[in-house]
């Protein structure tokens, strides 16, 4: 347990530590655009709920990037996200085979796809070793900055 990162108060004070946790969970709630969150550990049990008092009207937005990092963690799965806006290609050219398929083992540095921006073909490499769990974008579709492209199950 390491409340240091989330709390600015004395970490030896259990309530301050818990408050730090709650604060961090609130931030997570907002950042991840959740409506509700229930959390429990050895010394904290909490439910947060973003009721009608929240975020002005239309609290909304569907297709927002999950994270801005190129590889965003979620459990033991990781997401490879697009480093720029452009067009997603699974293969180096229309005739070629895709770089990867679901179930393929990939290694750090291996090319996973191409994102074309301004006629430039940018190869996107894996940042870790693992197995392709899911391909989230169809070939030829456009992607936003930060949009998840692949789900990779970590070894």
């Amino acid at each position: 347990m390491s409340p240091k990162k989330v709390s600015k108060s004395n970490p030896s004070d259990p309530f301050a530590a818990r408050l730090g946790k709650v604060e961090a969970l609130c931030e997570l709630l907002h950042r991840q655009r959740l409506g509700e969150l229930e959390y429990e550990d050895a010394d904290l049990k909490i439910r947060l709920w973003l009721g009608s008092s929240s975020a002005g009207f239309g609290a909304t937005a569907a297709t927002e990037p999950a994270a801005s990092a190129q590889t965003a963690a979620s459990g033991s799965n990781l997401y490879v996200t697009s480093p720029f806006v452009g067009t997603f290609y699974r293969a180096p050219n229309p005739e070629a085979k895709p770089f990867v398929e679901v179930g393929d083992r990939v290694t750090k540095g291996q090319v996973l796809c191409i994102v074309e921006a301004m006629k430039l073909m940018n190869e996107i490499e894996s940042e870790l070793d693992g197995t392709i769990a899911q391909i989230l974008i169809e070939n030829g579709k456009s992607v936003e900055y930060g949009e998840p492209l692949f789900k990779i199950r970590q070894e």
Binding site: S54, A55, G56, F57, G58, T60, A61, E64, P65, S68, F84, V85, G86, T87, A117, M118, L120, S142, V143, E144, Y145, G146, E147
Partner: protein
């Protein structure tokens, strides 16, 4: 006409352009950085694309990201708003190379007007009055010689300048070399060019500007004049129009010379001619080849939609009936820029807006991208909202602005609302005794 316009900007101006597109039945594409996902321009545009992380260099200033967003969304035109890439000739050229219309003047004109020295010379050729001044300064020694010919005090200015950076007032030859080096360094850091020129310094001028519009067929019209003397460090805080200080004759003369200069330049799209006004004389400062923050003042007094006209002109439509000749202004308009900044230190004040109430009713217009619960990101300029009032004359407009400022509530972050409330009760402001140093005296 364009089918889809990508708006390469954020904040209130992006929303303003979304609204114009919607009224013209043109699809709009908002682009935004990660931290701007909740901004109103993103919510109200037909499409939205996240183009990069918070730093503007990697999002709103990234030619690659924006052109790529235009290509994947199939936009056939880009509106640059103001700031960011709006005066970037290279960006406009890239648009042209990618077969995307850039909604602004031709790139060559942007380049010419972006160099203040060449702009000055071109204006002089069109018999627009300019201040006594120099061309490019070669050295501090050269600068002293030129300054002595002009007569101290002089202002050193960056050729690529804007917004007050690289500007130094010099009172005598002794202090010139130090100021020269400072201005050069600032200009180099700010604009990538250390080129300087000198101009006669006026101690207490007024800032008067003229809103121009021109189509691709040589039609040029001066739409209205505005006074923007209330500035802090060359940043406008409050703008109004028509300028109370101008007689009808002075206005007609000024409009005619701006129209002539535009014709000589082959100007297209909207643009603003900025002047210093001192003891009855105008002196050309610069042309802003883009829409300005305070275009709203002209919209209120003329009733004409400048953003729509900008789009029409860029699409090759000739100026038509209400724009084709000088409109008769109705009443008086004032714009107060409401910014998120500490009222004492003037430092930006980002954060979440915990409570918001916008004024409304007759003659009150608010352009804003924020709402209650919105978090103002620390990454961009601090403009929150433009409060624009319109009434039949200046005293009534001031009274209306006073009331609207009282109704305006922003909680959770610091704003300059209190400063505006003081300005509108100031005796000099109310009687129209303005110059560009108004706020300095006022704060003292």
């Amino acid at each position: 006409m364009f089918k889809k316009i990508l708006i390469a900007n954020r904040g209130e101006i992006a929303l303003r352009i979304v609204r114009a597109c919607r009224e013209m039945s043109i699809r709009s594409v908002a682009v935004h950085s990660v931290v701007d996902a909740d901004s109103l321009h993103v919510k109200f545009a037909d499409e939205a694309i996240c183009i990069g992380p918070a730093p503007a260099q990697e999002s709103y200033l990234s030619t690659a990201a924006i052109i790529s967003a235009a290509e994947v969304s199939g936009a056939d035109a880009i509106h640059p708003g103001y700031g960011f890439l709006a005066e970037n000739a290279a960006f406009a050229e890239t648009c042209a190379n990618c077969n995307i219309a850039f909604i602004g003047p031709p790139p060559a004109l942007m380049r010419l007007l972006g160099d203040k020295i060449s702009a000055r010379l071109r204006m002089a050729e069109s018999r627009v009055p300019i201040l006594p001044g120099s061309g490019r300064l070669e050295s501090a020694t050269d600068a002293i010689a030129r300054a002595e010919r002009i007569g101290f005090p002089v202002m050193l200015k960056a050729a690529a300048g804007g917004g007050g950076r690289g500007m130094k007032i010099v009172n005598d030859a002794e202090s010139l070399p130090a100021s020269y080096e400072l201005a050069r360094a600032e200009a180099l850091a700010g604009f990538g060019s250390g080129d300087l020129y000198a101009e006669k310094y006026l101690p207490s001028p007024r800032h008067i500007e003229v809103q121009m519009v021109a189509d691709a067929y040589g039609q040029v019209v001066a739409l209205s004049d505005r006074e923007c003397s209330i500035q802090r460090r060359h940043q406008k805080i409050l703008e109004e129009g028509p300028a109370a200080v101008l007689t009808d004759e002075a206005r007609a003369t000024l409009f005619s010379l701006c129209e002539r200069a535009c014709r000589d330049l082959g100007y297209q799209n909207v643009g603003t001619f900025e002047f210093l006004f001192d003891r009855g004389n105008f002196y050309f400062m610069e042309v802003n080849p883009r829409i300005q923050v305070e275009h709203t003042v002209t919209e209120m007094v003329t009733g004409l939609d400048l953003i729509r006209e900008q789009i029409l002109v860029a699409a090759g439509v000739p100026l038509s009936s209400p724009f084709a000749r000088r409109p008769r202004p109705r009443g008086h308009a004032i714009e107060a820029r409401i910014v998120a900044e500490d009222p004492e230190t003037f430092a930006p004040s980002p954060g979440r807006i915990s409570a918001l109430h916008l004024p409304g009713g007759f003659g009150v217009r608010v352009d804003t991208h924020v709402y209650e619960g919105y978090a103002v990101p620390p990454d961009y300029d601090s403009l929150l909202a433009k409060l624009v009032v319109h009434a039949e004359d200046r005293p009534h407009a001031i009274a209306r602005l006073r009331g609207a400022l009282e109704e305006f509530v922003v909680e959770g972050i610091a704003t300059n609302l209190a400063l505006h409330r003081r300005i509108v009760r100031d005796a000099d402001f109310c009687s129209g005794q303005l110059d560009t140093h108004f706020l300095e005296r006022f704060a003292a």
